[in-house]
Symmetry: C2
Subunit: 255 residues, 2 copies
């Protein structure tokens, strides 16, 4: 059984997130993993859907990906470009396989050590741009980007991010390491684009961090409020979670 690693992009707007959700054994929601499972089993000509596609990251409802990574096994050898083209022909138009590589049979998209890069797009127009409503978060209030730039480095390093975890978080530890946190300003598009890299992120962590950063930019929080939030370990204090529509899983790096 050859194992394949694929890089997958998807528009998250019409999905209930990445991960298959079953209720009484029935998939009731349209998910990215569910569509991938269907296509891979169809390509393998499996009468029963025996192959399970494993993803690196369980993106939420409405969250997009430019570079989700998945792995799966096929019962026979197919050339990687044949796998890519075959799956793209079978998949719905809101998912695309960007590339396929054959990998060792012990490669695991989620458990192999990796780092992730996410981007978050914020539209700063006074009203929502119709063409961006599914693809950005929208923040129409006063923003001083210089204040955000001062706050961003406070995220870098190994910290306990308990204040930045949504209540659904069930991980053993809330300590995570962030290696990159920066912002780019696109004046022509009236957009701010955040980039975050780290070994792993808690449930909703990036959307909560963006919420805090926007409140720093707006003046509702102290420039270095992130230092205080990390110290207090209290999820009640980071109030605003930026919407899923602005978040993109951009790239996953493996060792």
């Amino acid at each position: 059984m050859p194992r394949y690693k694929a890089i997958v992009a998807y528009d998250g707007a019409d999905f209930f997130g990445f991960q298959v959700q079953t209720k009484n054994g029935i998939e009731r929601q349209r998910t990215v993993q569910g569509e991938l499972n269907k296509a891979v089993n169809q390509m393998a000509k499996n009468p029963v859907p025996a192959i399970k596609v494993v993803g690196a990251s369980r993106t939420d409802t409405g969250v997009h990906a430019f570079g989700q990574v998945v792995h799966f096994d096929l019962p026979f050898n197919i050339k990687v470009d044949g796998v890519r083209k075959g799956l793209n022909t079978l998949l719905p138009r809101d998912i695309i396989i960007k590339s396929v590589h054959e990998v060792a049979s012990d490669f695991h998209a989620r458990f192999n050590t990796h780092a992730k890069r996410y981007i978050y797009r914020v539209s700063t127009q006074d009203f929502t741009d119709p063409f961006k409503r599914h693809y950005t978060g929208h923040f129409q209030w006063q923003l001083d980007v210089e204040r955000i730039k001062l706050g961003l480095p406070d995220l870098i390093g190994e910290h306990d991010f308990a204040s930045f975890a949504a209540s659904g978080n069930q991980t053993a530890t809330t300590v995570r390491t962030i290696t990159r946190a920066d912002i780019e300003i696109n004046n022509q598009e009236q957009e701010l684009v955040f980039t975050f890299e780290g070994n792993a992120f808690l449930y909703n962590q990036i959307r909560i961090m963006v919420g805090v950063l926007l409140e720093i930019g707006n003046g509702r929080r102290d420039v270095h409020d992130i230092v205080r939030l990390i110290a207090v370990r209290d999820r009640e204090q980071a109030r605003f979670t930026a919407p899923a529509s602005g978040l993109y899983l951009d790239e996953i790096y493996y060792d």
Copy 2:
């Protein structure tokens, strides 16, 4: 009754076109005009929807606009920026009012002499980019852009475009004047962007012209097949209509 002219942008993906369609007096489809009528009458606090919003161009299902022009009357004077903000608060997120001007009471968005600019975006990737599926037409076959560049000038001028009118066309004459027809290549985005300007266009004319131009680029038609198509006046000969998703009403110029 002051009259207002507004420039409107919309994402056409979730609309059954611009124009209200009624069946037995009931609006069964979601249309741009229907949403604008609702918002304007709500702002005017009309118990019955007495105000009708008039649009310059009846864009089709799935066609987008950056610069549709509409006019409407309000029963009382409101400052133009108040009209813009008020309507944007009331409208759904796939429509936005970009600007509002007060105009003379005889201004008419459709009947006043004007010219229109449309753009058509073609994605040339081998499979549909998930983020562009609603916002471009997709042409995955071989394209020689130099051939298209040679064919484009054949459209310029006053011609009988009968071969380029969809069967739904019911205008008295199929003679139209095109003043601009060009193409830009965006290699990074793997896109071709056509721009067309003219006094008026027949039903589906631009989508049929783009279809012919892509077939010229693909080598399935002679470089100067447009000259022949204009002469034969036969709508059967221009086979392929490019999809609505790539078409944008970009700007309307009034005298």
